[in-house]
């Protein structure tokens, strides 16, 4: 006999959600039968501003699409314009972009780990994660001038160079950060309570992940080897990058992917710092973009695509962004069906939703 179905609204305001998304949970007793998502609470119309700002100034706006993966957005946009105009950026600029990209991945993953611990009611772990994140934000501020919005990318390279003496200092400080992260991830991966809440909850099979279009750690947690960094854009080809893949497909696997990616990012930053080539950090840019270009790169949350269309003027004709959170919504809806009501908040968080980024 089936019980009576009730609809419970989840969000847009909810203690575990930093950003607004609304889910209508169809519930039978304590079990979720299906979830109906609705989005569009924080739409800002950022993409349409492209015809009112010059392409060189739009880099700052592209960076403000998201408050966490801001650096990747600006570098992807610049990469797109450079592709349209056929500009080859200097090697040092590519290495610096890789380094800052990985630092922003570190801070994004630590932010997520903190928020996730908080959603499970583990507040001391939340503070520990954000304490480590603070030291990474300090590195960002010292090298770029901004904590969260770096504003350091420009078409043709980067706006600031980092002195080699400072780079070697960063290398030393990474050791301490890595030690702290080891203690932190040890708790996430081995703690009894956390394991109870994660293992076997919200299972997404490999086929489902593929057909529903999962991206980033959500896909890699289900055993899909999907990472744009393996195509070797910027300096990723030189550092010998291999994606982190976990086979479990549950919340624990997605958490483990992020934990392991922290150490992978540290490794990449070390390689980039030691191999940093000498030279200029930008090439002068002349002319206006014309044509169409798909710019892809790997954000902390998955693959981001910037579609750019130029018409030979200073303003682009069209600009469109596809963010990883949007493609992670269908997998989320599929894994929510059949779970317990009490597990909904942590399952929603395991896909690392970034709503501001998704709706722009």
């Amino acid at each position: 006999m089936t019980g009576r179905q009730t609809i419970i609204p989840f969000g847009p305001q909810h203690p575990v959600l930093p950003e607004p998304i609304h889910l209508d949970l169809v519930v039978e007793d304590e079990r979720v039968v299906s979830a109906i998502p609705s989005i569009g609470y924080v739409h800002r119309g950022l993409e349409s501003l492209v015809d009112r700002r010059e392409y060189q100034d739009f880099v700052f706006l592209a960076e403000r699409i998201c408050g966490i993966c801001s650096f990747t957005h600006s570098s992807t946009f610049c990469q797109g314009i450079e592709g349209l105009m056929g500009i080859q950026i200097p090697q040092r600029a590519a290495y610096l972009r890789t380094m800052w990209g990985e630092y922003s991945r570190l801070h994004s993953h630590l932010l997520w780990l903190g928020l996730f611990a908080d959603s499970l009611g583990f507040e001391s772990l939340f503070y520990q994660a954000w304490k480590i994140r603070e030291s990474i934000l300090d590195e960002m501020e010292a090298t770029t001038g901004g904590r969260v919005i770096q504003g350091v990318c420009k078409v043709g390279g980067v706006r600031r160079d980092v002195a080699n003496s400072f780079l070697s200092g960063m290398d030393d400080r990474l050791d301490e950060i890595e030690d702290n992260m080891k203690d932190l991830t040890n708790v996430f991966l081995n703690d009894y309570t956390l394991k109870k809440r994660l293992v076997g909850k919200g299972v997404l099979s490999k086929d489902d992940a593929y057909y529903l279009g999962a991206a980033g750690p959500t896909a890699r947690g289900s055993g899909l080897d999907m990472d744009i960094r393996s195509t070797g854009y910027l300096a990723y080809g030189d550092v010998g990058f291999k994606p982190v893949v976990e086979k479990g497909g549950d919340g624990y696997a997605r958490c483990a992917v992020r934990c392991r990616e922290l150490f992978q990012s540290v490794e990449i930053i070390r390689r980039v710092i030691t191999d940093m080539p000498e030279g200029d950090v930008f090439t002068p840019v002349k002319g206006n973009p014309d044509g169409e270009y798909f710019s892809r790169s790997e954000q902390p949350r998955g693959e981001v695509i910037h579609y750019l269309k130029g018409n030979g003027t200073k303003n682009l004709a069209q600009f469109r962004v596809r963010t990883p959170t949007l493609t992670n919504i269908p997998p989320l809806v599929s894994i929510l069906a059949g779970c317990e009501l009490a597990d909904v908040p942590q399952i929603v968080l395991t896909i690392d939703p970034c709503i501001g980024c998704m709706e722009r």
Binding site: F60, A142, G146, G151
Partner: protein, 124 residues
């Protein structure tokens, strides 16, 4: 054993946060804190106004007035990059907090005087 160490630490350690008004906040060398304008160097070329992504700067060339809305400024430093006359500078301290009615839009009168070109000495 490790837990014992952690507990002991709690009795003696200093706060992890900065005790702000007592200890002044230290910024990094490259921090983009707030924008400073030098009216004696501005030639009202209007490049900063054109290239400002958040339209915080307005320049009235005829009236010789340069205004900045600090509540619109996003401290990107684009104007500092495009200014050829070094009239703009990014300071590392953050601007003091204030309400819009207290601060409003900051207005500066441009005091730049175009240097007179040395006259060509004509042969008499």
């Amino acid at each position: 054993m490790k837990m014992f160490k952690t507990i002991l630490k709690q009795f003696f350690h200093t706060p992890a946060t900065t005790t702000f008004p007592n200890t002044p906040l230290e910024n990094f060398e490259g921090t983009r804190g707030h924008l400073v304008f030098d009216p004696s160097k501005c030639t009202s070329c209007m490049m900063c106004m054109k290239r400002c992504p958040s339209q915080a700067i307005t320049v009235q060339r005829a009236e010789k007035i340069w205004t900045l809305d600090r509540f619109r400024c996003v401290m990107c430093g684009n104007c500092v990059d495009v200014c050829k006359f070094d009239a703009l500078l990014m300071e590392r301290e953050y601007a003091k907090s204030a309400t819009p009615t207290e601060r409003g839009v900051e207005t500066y009168e441009i005091t730049y005087v175009k240097p007179e070109r040395p006259k060509k000495e004509t042969a008499e």
